[in-house]
């Protein structure tokens, strides 16, 4: 077994604060190989937490456990606790469906449903969960597409197949689709990696705007992006959470050597 790595953190030590999600001793393995080891993290309500680290460090794997996406992966095993509003997402009595509706997710590659129009994509989570009222659907489509900065580009053409949009537009559509189910937490797995700088800037503005209402957890390869959008940053390396602190402190005054090297661009 691997020895337990101590996370450097000065966060939430005497916590009277309100946490939306708490991950306790989370270990995720694929077969016998652990990809995430004993990670402890707390996510404050209405804040943005960024996860950074080199490729293969386990940040996406960790993000996916926060709404039980590993249920779909053969061989993946999650140990530990993930609490959302005080309820353990991995407890046996829990139906993950209800919690997934609280937790929206945006994936690394845009994945709009290929057979559906723009409108139908945004409303998929609602319609397939039984929302039929046209007026409400229309309202939500406009609202969420505006939040995702896509509305102006598609408002006249909502019946168009989603796959005819450009890659960046598709990704913003997926953000709108995730927001449409009115989640409280938004998980984003490198949402801007397929976007150009302008679209990226728009997404970042969106994130800053969404922070007023949502708890956002974002995986990113782009350290400047982490600095721009997040309040807290966790640095992961080889499955361990090395350092988890206020974003500013982590980037300007890293306590751990590995973190220092990474944020200075010496490896990654």
């Amino acid at each position: 077994m691997t020895s337990k790595t101590q996370t450097t953190s000065d966060l939430f030590e005497n916590d009277s604060e309100k946490f939306k999600m708490i991950a306790e001793d989370v270990t995720i393995s694929y077969g016998d190989i652990p990809a995430v080891k004993n990670v402890n993290m707390k996510f404050k309500e209405k804040s943005v937490t960024a996860l950074i680290g080199p490729s293969g460090c386990g940040k996406t794997t960790f993000l996916r456990c926060l709404n039980r996406m590993h249920d779909m992966t053969k061989n993946a095993k999650v140990e530990g606790k993930v609490m959302i509003d005080g309820i353990d997402l991995y407890s046996k009595e829990i139906d993950p469906i209800y919690h997934r509706r609280k937790v929206g997710m945006v994936f690394q590659k845009p994945n709009p449903f290929p057979t559906m129009s723009i409108f139908d994509n945004v409303t998929a989570g609602l319609r397939l969960n039984g929302v039929k009222d046209k007026r409400i659907l229309n309202e939500i489509v406009e609202d969420t597409l505006k939040m995702a900065y896509l509305w102006d580009e598609v408002k006249s053409d909502l019946k168009k197949p989603a796959v005819e949009l450009s890659g960046g537009q598709q990704q913003r559509l997926c953000i709108a689709r995730a927001l449409a189910i009115q989640p409280e937490v938004l998980l984003m797995d490198e949402p801007a990696s397929a976007l150009d700088p302008i679209a990226t800037q728009k997404i970042e503005e969106t994130i800053t705007e969404l922070k007023k209402e949502f708890t956002i957890i974002i995986v990113t390869h782009n350290m400047q992006q982490a600095v721009r959008v997040s309040d807290y940053t966790g640095f992961m390396y080889l499955g361990d959470l090395i350092e988890f602190r206020h974003t500013k402190k982590l980037f300007t005054d890293p306590k751990n050597d590995l973190t220092a090297k990474y944020v200075q661009g010496q490896f990654g």
Binding site: D71, I97, M105, N111, F113, P114, A124, L128, N129, A178
Partner: protein, 308 residues
């Protein structure tokens, strides 16, 4: 990093290679095209032969009437057309749902020992000679009931059908990228909703092709029908009597020593081909272009309404 000379040496290698590659490319293309032609020639000549010989037999009388006296060259294949539509329709009603559901099970819930054995037996089943399935239907239905029956025919054909449908459904569903399932799951949808509304929607075309392959296959089956519906010269009476079907009629007509009967056999074969083609095109249009079809129907309705 390799030195400049090394890299120039590599480049020289590539250049020399170009001519050879172009030739290989041409040869491969010629082989591929010849294979396609080799595959199309028999298909084309069969269609041509059937059309050439069969077209003379086609008439309203031929399509609607019962067979005339043997060797007279009169009458038609009405009962056979009717019988084929009934038995293929009934077999599809049984075979398609079972096949599609099995395919969904194999693809979406197929990661366990049960599914692996189902998949294995399904594959074995698919290779069964159809006459064996006919004999099976004969034993369990015809012998038990004591008479030939339409049910037995539909049962035998559905046994041929569902393994094909199950396998093609499974393969089509597996082609759908996991990212769509993930996206659906992340929206808080239940697995069956994701499967039914998202995965199947994306796999529809392959599934329809599979079903159509199976329909075409059973439409032409003769052996199991001899054991189950036997054949008849009369129109469908009830489920518990023998019934005619086009493959049976083609077989009987082609066995007769009269030229007029053989001509009718060609005609019946042509009719069968057109029926399968018609079903294929019809189902494809309905399932894959539902919106367009509805639009056409709507405009037609409006036009008809306008005239009144």
């Amino acid at each position: 990093m390799s030195s400049l000379e090394k890299r120039q040496e590599y480049r020289a290698l590539f250049k020399q290679n170009v001519q050879k590659r172009l030739i290989v490319d041409k040869i491969v293309r010629i082989i591929i095209i010849s294979c396609v032609i080799a595959a199309i020639i028999p298909l084309g000549s069969i269609l041509f032969e059937v059309f050439k010989n069969g077209i003379a037999a086609i008439s309203i009388e031929f399509l609607t009437e019962i067979p005339g006296s043997v060797g007279s060259g009169t009458g038609g294949v009405g009962p056979a057309i009717q019988g084929t539509l009934i038995v293929v329709g009934l077999a599809s009603l049984i075979g398609v749902p079972i096949g599609v559901m099995s395919g969904i099970f194999l693809s979406e819930y197929g990661d366990n020992r049960l599914a692996r054995s189902v998949r294995f037996f399904n594959d074995v089943f698919m290779e069964f000679p159809s006459i064996v399935l006919g004999i099976f239907a004969f034993l369990v239905i015809v012998l038990v009931l004591g008479h030939f029956s339409v049910w037995a025919g539909a049962f035998a054909l559905s046994l041929i059908m569902f393994p094909i449908v199950a396998r093609t459904t499974e393969e089509s569903l597996k082609m759908v990228p996991i990212t769509y399932r993930e996206a659906g799951t992340a929206l808080g949808l239940r697995k069956w909703v994701v499967t039914m509304r998202i995965v199947i929607a994306a796999a529809k075309e392959g599934m329809v092709t599979g079903v159509m392959l199976a329909v075409a296959r059973i439409g032409g089956e003769t052996a199991p029908l001899i054991m189950t519906i036997l054949g008849s010269s009369l129109f469908f009476a009830n489920m518990n009597t023998p019934m005619d079907a086009l493959p049976l009629r083609i077989w009987r007509l082609s066995m007769l020593p009269y030229e007029s009967a053989q001509l009718q056999g060609w005609g019946a074969a042509l009719v069968l081909i057109f029926i399968i083609l018609g079903i294929n095109l019809g189902v494809r249009t309905l399932v894959l272009h539902k919106k367009e079809t509805m639009q056409i129907l709507k405009t037609l309705k409006e036009k008809v309404g306008g005239k009144n």
